[in-house]
Amino acid sequence: MMKVSNRPGAMPGFWRNYWSRNRITIFLGVVTCIFLADSLQLGRASAWVPRLILLTTLSLIVLLLGRELRVQSAGAGVTAIPDTKGILSIVPALGWIGAMLMLVWLLGVSMGLMLFCFGYLRWYANESWSMSGVLAGGLGLFIQGVFGLLFKMPLYQGVLSALT
């Protein structure tokens, strides 16, 4: 882990470290501010409960950010959280989940999840063609058998089925 300066004047290491340690808090603060701004359009009767909650949350966020700033300023060589690798490592996972969403949206639950399962097992998990086929087929049978036949539930068909 990288050691960074703990002095506020030592730019930009101090603030970079502060950002890496507090980005979730800052993100939550931004979300709360967006909600607070939106609450300005509400009528008086509808606005006061949301504003009470939002202002309380925002105060707590400011308190936490202030406390973190104090701790970091007082601490001897606060250690930065390594973030680049972590952020990049999430990209393949999100890519596969995005592909799954697209397949289900286009082809429906049964076919979409079966194709996703096959692709994921074959190319992400490096399973053999036969194992990928068997597991994907098993998943399709499970979905159709249990939800379609046994429970007679309407399974999402996908937008392409509407076109055909």
Partner: protein, 514 residues
């Protein structure tokens, strides 16, 4: 106890165990178990599906099947929570806090054993409590008004925020975020739209199912994909798994006091109409954590963190029947659908139900009791095949976990937008997990928000009209005191500990200098 009640209880028991009625309970339980293994589906959905099919049935089989649906659906959600971090229902969100870490440590068998034993015994506690309360039900349920509900919601929020591990401030912020998200949609009083940002999808507010599946199940999927962990337990063979079913069962008796207290919490909270089934488990977990002492490993695989919510979750089923049968006020969604089915069959809850149809009430209660035991015994018998899942390669399991989550989202309302919502919350959940932010206060805040908001408005209005005096209600004052304890006790105890440590260091330094 009244002789009429005892006679009705015995008559109901003999009906439940007579042929062919016995088979109705078994079939209903198995169907509920299968159905509830899918995240997002619960007993209320199954009951709603069954209402048209059972319209021509006699009252006894109807009671047997519906009792079995309520009892059989609870346990399977715990299994998916323990093994895959998928909360089958919102009430199982608390089961995974310590259940899943136990699986990750190769102790899935112990965890399932403990869950099965505490579920069966918890439901037994709840049911016998219910039977004991039948003569006093009406009076007991009338004690609570909007101010008590409001304070109960605030107390619940502060309990979980205070006990969410690490920083209490973070817990409170996350609870605030949960309340914010729960405000989305129509204002319950003015019907004005709030925070929808022009999206039609948000008009009805965020649903619990996609949010919970995202924050817990999909967040775990992302984490497993990123970490490339080989198996859920880190073990590749069954022989490597530590712990045993028996150890799990024994743990309930080792912590029997906690079990009794958690069951009582579950029954009492279950009996409060409208509080929701999820709250019982959360409060029991909070209580277990508060009373566990400094050496506890809560959140990292402490068996007490599994035992308490499981006992409460199953005990609450008995409690939830109290207002349903006595006042016609459902304790939760499941009992609301049950109430609908009873009304369709010409049975009206209240005094008539507890006098003219008392035998039928007991048929329902015994069926619930039996189905809880059937699910737990089946759970114990199936421990090995279920625990084996924790030794299968995660790459092979992940598509199935994703599939269950997607189907759970889609079956809820049939909206693809729910799946997208779950993915977004999955990303948020993953980031929160990675940065050590507690996720449970988010879940509990979303659950408690409607209770909080509705009762805040009602309390203020009643206070304005001088129909109530908020500050003179004893239960309100007790809950205010408990909330203050939640908020300030951690800070006071840590300051006291720091002082004590300082004194100890000072005296040891003095000894050395001498």
């Amino acid at each position: 106890m009244d002789a009429t009640v005892v006679n009705a209880a015995l008559e109901g028991l003999s009906l439940v165990f007579s042929w062919p009625y016995f088979m109705y309970t078994i079939a209903g339980t198995l169907l509920a178990m299968l159905f509830s293994a899918v995240p997002g589906l619960n007993s209320s959905t199954l009951m709603a599906l069954a209402i048209p099919l059972t319209l021509t049935w006699d009252p006894v089989p109807l009671m047997l099947v519906f009792g079995a649906f309520v009892g059989g659906a609870t346990f399977m959600g715990s299994i998916t929570a323990i093994l895959f971090n998928i909360p089958g229902k919102s009430q199982n969100a608390v089961t995974l806090l310590d259940g899943y870490p136990l699986t990750q440590q190769g102790m899935a068998k112990t965890a399932i054993g403990c869950a099965a034993a505490s579920s069966a015994l918890g439901s037994t506690f709840g049911i016998f409590f219910l039977i004991g309360l039948i003569p006093f039900m009406r009076e007991a349920a009338m004690l609570l008004g909007p101010p008590e509900y409001l304070m109960l919601a605030i107390w619940g929020l502060t309990t979980l925020a205070a006990l969410s591990g690490g920083s209490m401030l973070k817990g409170l912020i996350v609870a605030g975020l949960g309340l914010q998200l729960a405000l989305i949609g129509y204002d319950p009083r003015t019907a004005e739209l709030r925070f929808t940002f022009g999206l039609d999808y948000l008009h009805d507010g965020l649903s619990l199912v996609p949010v919970f599946l995202g924050v817990f199940a999909l967040a775990e999927v992302i984490d497993l994909m990123v970490s490339r962990k080989q198996t859920l337990s880190g073990k590749h063979h069954m022989e490597e798994l530590t712990g045993s079913v028996w150890e799990g069962v024994q743990s309930v008796f080792r912590h029997f006091g906690l079990f009794l207290r958690s069951s009582l919490i579950g029954t009492v909270i279950g009996a409060i109409p409208g509080v929701g089934s999820s709250v019982a488990g959360f409060v029991a977990y909070g209580h277990a954590r508060q009373t566990a002492g400094r050496t506890s490993r809560f959140g990292r695989g402490d068996i007490r963190g599994l035992l308490a919510p499981e006992a409460a979750n199953d005990a609450k089923d008995g409690g939830a029947l109290i207002p349903t049968l006595a006042l016609g006020i459902p304790g939760g969604t499941g009992t609301a659908v049950l109430l609908g089915a009873l009304t369709l069959h010409g049975m009206s809850p209240g005094r008539e139900m507890l006098t003219d149809n008392l035998v039928l009430v007991f048929v329902l209660i015994w069926s619930l009791f039996l189905s809880n035991w059937i699910t737990s015994l089946l759970g114990l018998l199936l421990v090995n095949p279920m625990a084996r899942l924790s030794t299968i390669r995660t790459t092979r399991l992940l598509p199935f976990i994703i599939a269950l989550s997607v189907i759970g989202c889609l079956q809820f309302r049939g909206l693809m937008a729910d799946v997208v919502c779950a993915v977004l919350f999955g990303l948020l959940g993953y980031l929160m997990k990675r940065h050590d932010w507690p996720r449970i206060p988010l879940a509990i805040a979303i659950v408690l928000a409607p209770l909080f908001e509705t009762n805040l408005h009602l309390t203020l209005r009643l206070h304005e009209l001088e129909r109530i005096v908020f500050w003179t209600r004893p239960l309100v004052l007790i809950l205010i005191a408990m909330t203050l304890v939640n908020l300030f006790l951690p800070a006071i105890s840590s300051r006291l500990n720091a002082n004590r440590q300082g004194q100890r260091e000072g005296s040891s330094a003095g000894d050395e200098s001498e």
